[in-house]
Symmetry: C2
Subunit: 404 residues, 2 copies
Amino acid sequence: MIKPQTLKGFRDFLPADALKRQFVIGKIKEVFEQFGFDPLETPALEYAETLLGKYGNEADKLLYLFKDNGGRNVGLRYDQTVPLSRVVAQYQNKLPLPFKRYQIQPVWRAENPQKGRFREFLQCDIDTVGADSPLADAEIISCTLTAFKTLGFANPIMVINDRRIFDDLGLSKKEIIILDKLEKIGNDAVAGELAASGTKDPNGLLTILRDTLPTERLAMIIAALERLGYVQGKDIRFNPFLARGLEYYTSTIFEVKIPDYSGGSLAGGGRYDKLIGQFSGRGLPAVGIAFGFDRLLDALEENHLLPATPTATQVLVTIFSPELVNNALRIAANLRTNGVNAEVFLEEIKLDKQLKYADRKGIPYVIIQGPEELQKNVVKLKDMKNQTQEELTIEQITTRLQSS
Amino acid sequence: MIKPQTLKGFRDFLPADALKRQFVIGKIKEVFEQFGFDPLETPALEYAETLLGKYGNEADKLLYLFKDNGGRNVGLRYDQTVPLSRVVAQYQNKLPLPFKRYQIQPVWRAENPQKGRFREFLQCDIDTVGADSPLADAEIISCTLTAFKTLGFANPIMVINDRRIFDDLGLSKKEIIILDKLEKIGNDAVAGELAASGTKDPNGLLTILRDTLPTERLAMIIAALERLGYVQGKDIRFNPFLARGLEYYTSTIFEVKIPDYSGGSLAGGGRYDKLIGQFSGRGLPAVGIAFGFDRLLDALEENHLLPATPTATQVLVTIFSPELVNNALRIAANLRTNGVNAEVFLEEIKLDKQLKYADRKGIPYVIIQGPEELQKNVVKLKDMKNQTQEELTIEQITTRLQSS
């Protein structure tokens, strides 16, 4: 006997969870398409050289790399931005630019699993390739904020910054990583870490940053968003300390925060104008964002924004007795033809066991048709939550369940 | 510079293809849920021992196996039936039985790529676990035929057989594999191969099989399906030579054929009552089917049953001049709020270039608002296919595009 188990950091999604995930994906996709993004799918496996050296040295260690049966060095998808960059280079004569795509696929990272961090997780990305205009950045931000509002969050906040601010100050990678911690560890601790890492005047640097104004690009992005009704300081907040981890960002960076949610940012992205050039002679400007799907679900759950439907089935058609199997099958067929999700119980067992099954599975309604009801050409519809029942015709039930 | 390329047998799906895939998945899911199946998702990676020894020796060679960073022997999902069996054993106290689930995820097989055969492909499965009744088999068949009809196929055929017929005749694995080829290579060739493999009276065996009647289980399945209006010989066809490859089937086996489609069966499955017992002390009867998604798409394409929408975007809002960017943004925001998929062009370039972009991308409508239209509070709506245009208010456009 083989022990049934999943690998550490990997998860099964049983129906109640899978339905929640589908609900959220459905909402997000709708908004992505409203903003003119089209779907793209790329393979789970890529040549290792496509993935290596794009995310930074630490991230490279988290890649799932192996040799395939043909001896090729391959790796599992680590994010969706690098595959997008490869796609844009590979099909450059076929794809009209700007190319706006969304992508919703799992990625794999060999991280140390901890609360909220997994080795397999879903990413939801939108990216615009081939547009340098600040309008492209503004549209990504507007699409993201719209998606969060559509999901039910009252006040999603987009924190924005421009990496060029760090470039202009000549800051090192090390210093940028320390500055990023300001919100978490506070002014003094950051100044201390900066001093320890060799910064000559840490407090001076912090003051300069605090007084920094948005770059020209950021100002244009903010202006475009304001025209659309977003409010600076409320919906959009400039934060000159925001750094974000990934190496490939070249200018604008941004992330989404939800007030009162302690789990960190729910989406993050920025402009990466040099990544695509690594795959083709021709560099192309690009900007995009990735939604952290697990955190998003977590925040939705905390805010009671997820439907509580443990099953997609609306009604269980019970089997009263062996002679009445035919009728049960026909009732179910009738409901299904009219778009009602109906399950027929599959064994001829006692009725109370069938009701118990519906209850355990969370099916909201049960249909019972015994000889009496059959004679009257009706069925009993039992409401499992309220424990009430009434006699109705199939047509009446269809009408009721279609609107439920 | 890194050469942008995909691995042999792996595919990118650019928007036009990705949209077709989503369309088909959406239709299939709707039918699966109508029949009371709920979604399940399992990880891409499993412990190697979960996968090995389930599919037969030849199939084991096609598994993508490797050691992960922690030295564990792991493998990529090869099908969705073995992960389902693991799930049922792992959560047996949590899952009410019968457990009816659908699963739509990619699987990986290191096959030699050839026309229509890939190393990464999508499977769409429905399975019912914990029900021994022939009703369970009949429901799987009915759900599958309904899905094919919903997709637009006029006459999908379910070919059925029972592996017990082979068991009762004491046939070897080798003989079964030869018999399975009857339709392809004909009576004489099969008799020849049987003789060569040591069968004593090949023609006798063929005659016996040809005269075989459906088993009791098959007769009950057919009876249930006839009550639902399916016609034996037309919708359901008993074929005592049908074998199917996978090792784990124990009784009923079936596959879907489409008349005039030469690419083989589009879905296949059967009853596997012993697989789950390998993961838990407790054996559980199970029956299910897997849709071959690529063949399905191929057959749909051949029968002109797929929508030809290269983009989900309904309208491109052009930018007439730099001063009118604000107006374009507001027009797009207005359309999106009303559920219309609208893209704003992101650079302020010549109008004819923007129109060319819409044309190349296949966006059906374009909105133009110059100073004249602005004064009249209307926009020009250009139909890219008919090359006609009219002046309309945004409200009129919304109404028209919402219903398109």
